[in-house]
């Protein structure tokens, strides 16, 4: 379960003054659901997810993940969250096994547990061939699989994906999408950010459209189609953010 309540995050920028990256955002993601956070670049997706993962502290508002408060029980939140982003890379000089074991240990798992889970994950993700090779020699697909195993080693109840398919080839992207669905089917709470409309249509149970730091609309695909009188996700998105002019203006900032 993820409950975001009035999350706001401001940054100070020397040139532009105070920037509100996330503005009064509230939403709820339930176990067994994929919540899709859809927004253009710079809309505030990454900041929102970093707030949830306790990498950043909100300026105001609060969030509860897996029953823990992000502000006061940050370590507990991180212990129950798996965070996968384009910006969470692997240690190139470690092997996949060492990488995953390291994060198992950081999560306080016993070596025997790590070994058992690692073997299971390696089988599921088909990564036995490269488990003992160094990560800097990996293909993108191998890297993504290792990252996924890293996020899952502590069996978190909440999964946060920040544009996980960004820059990936079709096959790797498909395997990620399949994996995200698997997480939902196992009853995990999943939040998934993207700017790719088709992905949202395909996998998200609930869609939140974020624009200029604000959550402008929220609902299932059917609800959104009805609300905006459009069937195409892209058209829904443009209408939700207030037309193309608003989108262009936001991107200029």
């Amino acid at each position: 379960m993820i409950e975001a309540r009035n999350l706001t995050k401001t940054f100070k920028d020397k040139k532009r003054g105070v920037i509100t990256a996330v503005n009064d955002v509230s939403f709820t993601c339930r176990p067994g659901q994929i919540y899709g956070l859809l927004g253009a670049n710079g809309a505030g997706k990454t900041t929102t997810l970093r707030l949830l993962a306790t990498l950043l502290q909100p300026t105001s508002g609060s969030a509860r993940l897996a029953g823990f408060d992000a502000a006061t029980e940050a370590n507990q939140v991180r212990a129950h969250v798996g965070f996968l982003a384009a910006s969470t890379a692997l240690y190139g000089r470690l092997t996949a096994r060492e990488m995953i074991t390291y994060f198992g240990r950081l999560n306080g798992l016993a070596d025997a547990t790590i070994k058992e889970r690692l073997n299971r994950l390696a089988a599921e993700l088909d990564m036995r061939d490269f488990l003992d090779r160094r990560c800097d020699k990996f293909s993108t697909g191998m890297k993504q699989k290792t990252s996924i195993a890293r996020t899952l080693i502590h069996d978190p109840a909440v999964m946060i994906f920040d544009e996980p398919t960004l820059g990936l080839d079709v096959m790797t992207a498909r395997s990620i999408v399949k994996f995200v669905r698997d997480c939902r089917n196992r009853g995990k709470t999943v939040i998934y950010s993207t700017h790719v409309m088709s992905e949202v249509e395909k996998i998200c149970d609930v869609i939140g459209i974020i624009h200029d730091g604000r959550l402008v609309t929220e609902g299932t695909l059917a609800e959104l189609r009805q609300r905006f009188g459009e069937t195409d996700m892209e058209e829904i998105f443009v209408k939700a953010v207030g037309g193309e002019a608003a989108l262009v203006a936001a991107l200029k900032n």
Partner: protein, 413 residues
């Protein structure tokens, strides 16, 4: 703080760093090789060049001297000199290094030796040019000996003994024990080297473990783990400290081995020309590698520790601010000068430890090491230096932890 987590982070960073060629080079290869290279490489070259310059015959141009056949013949007979014909552009020839020294004998020089008038022999040379300097000395020796002979002759003519112009002689006697000489001479150099290596050893891993991780995107991965940030800082800090101390350890061991081999290689009196002597200055006049008080080395090690902590924490905090490895380099590189300056000042003769200087970081270490290595133990200063270094180290470590907890530093856009 959770020691289990700190250990986990530390062991991972250690493994990671040991697989990194650049860290290995800065931590092990450079400190191991730097001393033998300085002592044997540079030393051998310098002593070879010096020997060659000294053994070469000196090309001397004689200006005038047509009416002094005796002196000219004596110069010609001396195997050290090779007389070249006089030329008008002798100054240019000396500048061009074709002639090392020109000697101008005044008219009637030889006659005046018996006659009694004061004459001037002019020697032309090129100051700062090694070979010309040697040539000058050889020619000077020749004329000094001629002068002495002339004096003796004149005294004898007047029936006086040579003792008339030699009322007494001066005898110098060194009372300092060998390790004191060594301490003073290399006591300044060893701490200098240790301080520099302590800093450079920490430099690379500090940048790699912070800015490097940000650049490669692994920092965010690491921050996703439930480990409290203070444990991450401590684990990384211990790795940087390990690298720094390993660098120092390798350099000290290498220094000891090089010194021992140096004694064997250069032998007793040959040392006076070796690099060892160039390095240790007056100590080598004794003709051997100066002894160092081993207890002094233990003292140095004890006082280096808080300074290494200070460097490691400070470098970690500063490079953490950088977004990329390159940016970190541009912050850190100028600091080398800041570190070298007090280390060099400490090496200067005459700068002595006092209560005020004992509070100046780095300089205090440099000065106290010089004392300890020469067997002087000012316990009050040592306590003051250890104490102040620990305070500086704690402040730097606190600064590093603070930086790790600042999200505008960790996620600088």
């Amino acid at each position: 703080m959770n020691w289990q987590n700190i250990l986990t982070v530390y062991l991972k960073e250690l493994k990671d760093s040991l697989r990194d060629r650049r860290t290995l080079i800065s931590m092990i290869v450079v400190p191991t090789l730097i001393m033998p290279i300085i002592m044997f490489g540079v030393g051998t070259v310098i002593s070879k060049v010096m020997q060659q310059a000294q053994s070469e015959t000196v090309s001397v141009m004689l200006l005038g001297g047509a009416d002094s056949p005796g002196v000219v013949a004596a110069l010609k007979a001396d195997k050290k000199f090779r007389l070249v014909p006089a030329a008008a552009d002798y100054q240019q020839l000396i500048s061009d290094k074709q002639v090392r020294v020109a000697v101008e004998l005044p008219a009637g020089f030889e006659a005046s030796l018996t006659g009694g008038g004061v004459q001037t022999v002019s020697l032309y040379y090129y100051a700062g040019e090694l070979k010309s300097g040697f040539g000058l000395k050889a020619v000077q020796d020749f004329f000094t000996s001629l002068k002495e002979k002339t004096i003796e002759t004149r005294l004898a003519e007047r029936g006086l003994s040579a003792a008339v112009i030699k009322p007494f002689v001066i005898r110098k006697q060194n009372v300092a024990p060998p390790e004191k000489v060594g301490g003073n001479a290399i006591g300044g150099f060893i701490p200098y080297l240790i301080i520099i290596l302590c800093f450079t050893g920490a430099m690379y891993p500090a940048m790699d473990l912070t800015a490097g991780e940000k650049e490669r995107g692994t920092m965010e991965t690491l921050l996703c783990s439930p480990v409290h940030r203070i444990n991450i800082v401590m684990g990384k800090f211990l790795m940087v400290l390990t690298a720094s101390l390993t660098t120092v350890l390798f350099s000290i061991v290498s220094m000891g081995v090089s010194a021992a081999l140096g004694v064997m290689y250069f032998g007793g009196k040959a040392t006076s020309q070796s690099a060892t002597s160039a390095m240790v200055g007056q100590a080598a006049e004794g003709g051997s590698i100066p002894l160092i008080d081993p207890v002094g080395l233990i003292g140095v090690a004890a006082l280096v520790l808080p300074v290494a902590v200070f460097f490691a924490a400070l470098l970690l905090a500063i490079s953490l601010f950088a977004k990329s490895y390159k940016e970190a380099q541009s912050y850190i590189s100028p600091l080398i000068v800041v570190v070298i300056m007090p280390a060099v000042i400490g090496m200067l003769p005459g700068v002595e430890l006092n209560a005020k200087l004992a509070l100046v970081p780095i300089l205090n270490l440099s000065l106290v090491c010089k004392e300890m290595l020469s067997g002087v133990w000012h316990w009050d200063y040592i306590a003051l230096i250890f104490g102040s270094s620990c305070v500086y180290a704690a402040i730097a470590l606190g600064f590093a932890v603070k930086m790790f907890n600042r999200e505008d530093v960790m996620f600088r856009a």
